[in-house]
């Protein structure tokens, strides 16, 4: 088991490397970036936007001498050349016409020499676009020392933002899991004890509904329910006047906000646990040791809850590692529909805004959580069930 754990742990660093490279390349393959909109915005100063891009590591400023080394080059069918007119920045000519420098129109200038792309602001400062592989290595060397970069949108280190949101998502997922266990296992056990009863059949139908209802749909229904009854708040984690509440008031307020999203997120897991608990319990009740216990004259309840129940539920409880991992990614839609400030919504917003460092770090963190969750689940399963051998 130790070797198993070690091997799994050792496989994590290469996985992280590949996942970050893959995500990075996908993000870089996308057309445009976070600043594209600002570049097109006439109200923003190009100089400022490009300077921001430089500080985000997307561009590198070229010095005068570097530019003069270019001499003449061809791009888009026009001849480009740089001329030193004794100004601070060189004059740029396109087919002999001045495009930067004195008497030139002011707009963003994009050009390409071989495979390298360049941008030039309206003052004539030329920047080189950092290529994907190069920027991956600089990102990775920073990340290796613990610096995952700053979010373009929030202009804060990504870790602080993610930690906040991850905590919210964890609260939601754990609450969903508690609901799933708390309702799913008793229902499943009850259905198994009385097979083919009314309870069993309705539990079976409930399980089918729970497994089939799309999260988007159930979340929308929950919002509809909340708007019509007014029993539950819609969106966010706490009320506006949260700070005025006492200690218990605060806890109550948070639980009040947590209730509906947790139910919506927990429905599918609950249905799964219910079916599994029922199946395991029926299997356990058919085992020889149950018959032996009955033959010895052990009371019905004791047989059910001491002999069969423990064997049926043990493997279920250890599954929480898998469930937590799947809930983490499954919460994205719930968070968006029910306005829960969690990691999923953060990723969605970051992707919409093309906030690359934030997307990259969020995907990495959630991947790590998923991998660790699965590892913990595997280990727990082996711990409680000696028949499972890890190799």
């Amino acid at each position: 088991m130790l070797t198993f754990t070690l091997r799994r742990l050792l496989s994590i660093p290469p996985l992280v490397l590949v996942v970050s490279l893959l995500t990075f390349l996908l993000l870089k393959a996308a057309p445009g970036d976070f600043y594209s909109q600002q570049e097109a915005d006439p109200a923003r100063s190009l100089t400022e936007v490009l300077r921001q891009k430089e500080s985000s590591g997307l561009l590198v400023r070229l010095s005068q001498t570097q530019l003069e080394e270019f001499g003449e080059f061809r791009d888009d069918g026009s001849m480009w050349s740089f001329r030193d007119d004794g100004e601070k920045v060189p004059t740029i000519l396109r087919d002999g016409i001045v495009v930067r420098g004195r008497s030139a129109s002011r707009s963003l200038l994009n050009f390409q020499i071989e495979s390298t792309k360049y941008q030039c602001d309206d003052e004539g400062v030329v920047y080189r676009k950092v290529g994907p592989i190069e920027s991956f290595f600089s990102w990775f060397s920073n990340a290796a020392s613990g610096d995952f970069g700053r979010s373009y949108k929030f202009n804060r280190p990504v870790f602080g933002i993610i930690a906040e949101r991850l905590w919210n998502t964890l609260i939601l997922s754990i609450a969903a899991l508690l609901i799933a266990y708390g309702l799913g296992i008793p229902l499943g056990i009850f259905a198994a004890v009385k097979p083919n009863s009314l309870v069993d059949h309705s539990a079976g139908i409930l399980a089918f509904i729970g497994l089939s209802i799309p999260t988007v749909f159930s979340a929308l229904l929950a919002v509809l329910f909340a708007t019509y009854t007014g029993w539950f708040p819609i969106g966010d984690m706490r009320s506006l006047d949260y700070d005025l509440f006492g200690f218990w008031g605060k806890i109550g307020d948070r639980l009040h906000h947590l209730f509906l999203p947790a139910i919506v997120l927990g429905t599918a897991a609950m249905a799964g646990y219910m079916r599994q608990a029922r199946g395991n319990m029926i299997e356990a009740l058919g085992q020889d040791y149950v018959r032996t216990a009955r033959a010895k004259g052990v009371s019905h309840n004791s047989v059910l809850f001491k002999h069969a129940f423990r064997n049926a539920v043990n493997p279920l409880v250890t599954l929480f590692g898998y469930s937590l991992a799947s809930l983490l990614s499954g919460s994205l839609l719930v968070e968006i529909v029910m306005n829960w400030p969690g990691l999923g919504r953060l990723v969605f917003e970051a992707i919409s805004a093309k906030d690359e460092p934030l997307v990259l770090a969020s995907v990495l963190i959630s991947t790590l959580l998923l991998v660790f969750g699965n590892l913990v689940a595997d280990l727990l399963l082996a711990l409680v069930d000696p028949r499972v051998r890890l190799s």
């Binding site: 393959a29 988007v216 959630s366």
Partner: protein, 434 residues
């Protein structure tokens, strides 16, 4: 099947494995009802242009956000009077209206204007009432004019030709007929009257929701089928190669599978979508969604097939095939993969919902199908925001169709699994998928 048995034998001819599967499946009521629901859903989607009373993108600015006529209708109520001045500064009294939903009153009904019972369904025309509030602001409120009944006609001719039948845009058959609708000559004339047959209500652009759902089903339902087909194909090839050859190929292919499974599904889908430019034609968007879902989806199927091939490889018939000089390709294609067929079919049926839900998630988040096309996820996008939902709750109806489709696939898949699993016969409980 011809009877090749000896004449003495009174036993029926032996059943093949598929026949046994079918026999067992037929006894499973849930599975059969699932299959029936799916058949109906696919059929009505394919014939969506015919069944739906309108075109897929027939915007009507006068009928925005009207409730489902199948379930009732809005009736106008005068709630107050306000005193206002007309253009000559004379005081006049204006009315403030509000509309009230009445369940199973009005809407689609079975009497004509005179109140006589008819077998032909009728609807009331919608009238725009002008409501004035105390500040002199006006608001247009759409409600039924119950004094008039308009008959619903069947097999009416539309002015524009449209697709009567299509398989998600392929093999279209064009025509002008709609199954039902309101004939042009039956439309009552009147400035404020807007007649329409809105069985499930209208959306925020005044389009008929039922028609949009039918057209949306063509996309949402076919994404599942095509996506699972591609995933299974990739899974069979890669799983087959990894399981049969083992060694380095197995090692690297399984690392690839682990990589795909390690990234949370929806995040991977969104990141893949991010890398693709936004300006796509509807057909390209559709292909892109299918491709993304298939790329993300094949991994778990491939791993499962690899495991099965790994164990089947050592079976006696595979050994025999190899001993007889069968090439690797032949052994894989002719002997190993066909033996995984029943499990592949069961898995495929149980996995289709993930593709349907994947399309729903993408379109709902604004990364998938876009207007003016229709898909069930895109239709749900309209209900974001509790205010919209509160006043137009019928906009969640497309979710009901998604739910029905997923439920039906689960019924069918569960039934297929029980039928394919011989242990189900012995009364041993089946192990649930975690």
């Amino acid at each position: 099947m011809t009877d090749t048995q000896s004449p003495q034998s009174k036993l029926p001819p032996p059943r093949g494995p598929w026949e046994m599967l079918w026999h067992r499946l037929r006894k499973n009521k849930l599975a059969m009802s699932g299959a029936a629901i799916l058949l109906v859903l696919y059929l009505i989607s394919c014939f969506g242009g015919f069944i739906g009373p309108y075109g897929s993108n027939e915007i009507n600015k006068y009928t925005v956000k009207y409730g489902p006529m199948l379930l009732g209708g809005y009736v106008i109520e005068k709630i107050a009077e306000v005193i206002d001045q007309d253009e000559n500064f004379e005081e006049i009294i204006r009315d403030t209206y509000s509309r009230k939903w009445e369940w199973f009153e009005g809407g689609v009904h079975f009497h004509d204007t005179a109140g006589n019972f008819t077998l032909r369904p009728h609807v009331h025309p919608l009238r725009e009432y002008v409501s004035w509030d105390a500040y002199g602001e006006t608001e247009y409120i759409l409600a039924e004019d119950r004094s008039i009944s308009v008959p619903v006609s069947f097999f009416i001719e539309a002015s524009e030709p449209h697709e009567i039948f299509s398989l998600c845009g392929f093999f279209p058959i064009h025509g002008k007929t709609h199954l039902m609708g309101i004939a042009a000559e039956d439309h009552p004339t009147g400035k404020d009257l807007h007649t329409g047959l809105f069985l499930l209500g209208t959306d925020i652009l005044g389009r008929d929701l039922w028609t949009r759902i039918l057209y949306g089903g063509q996309i949402s339902l076919s994404v599942g089928l095509i996506g699972i087909f591609i995933s299974i194909s990739i899974g069979l090839v890669i799983g087959g190669i990894a399981g049969y050859f083992g060694g380095l190929a197995d090692f690297w292919l399984m690392r690839l599978v682990e990589l795909l499974l390690a990234i949370p599904g929806l995040y991977l889908i969104l990141t893949l979508r991010y890398a693709i430019p936004d300006e796509l034609s509807p057909r390209q968007t559709y292909m892109m969604i299918v491709a993304i879902l298939a790329i993300v989806g094949w991994a778990s199927i491939g791993r499962m097939i690899r495991g099965m091939v790994l164990s089947l490889r050592e079976s006696e018939y595979a050994l025999a095939a190899r001993a007889l000089g069968g090439s690797s390709a032949r052994v894989i294609m002719r002997h190993l993969l066909p033996n995984t067929a029943s499990i592949v079919i069961v898995t495929a049926t149980l996995y289709v919902p993930y593709y349907i839900l994947g399309e729903v998630a993408l379109s709902f988040l604004g990364f998938g199908i876009t207007e003016p096309d229709s898909s069930w996820g895109l239709l749900l996008k309209d209900c974001q925001g509790s205010e919209v939902l509160k006043y137009n709750p019928w906009l969640v109806t497309p979710g009901l169709f998604i739910f029905l489709a997923v439920l039906a696939y689960n019924f069918l898949g569960d039934g297929l699994r029980d039928a394919a699993d011989p242990r189900a016969f012995l009364g041993v409980s089946r192990k649930e998928k975690s």
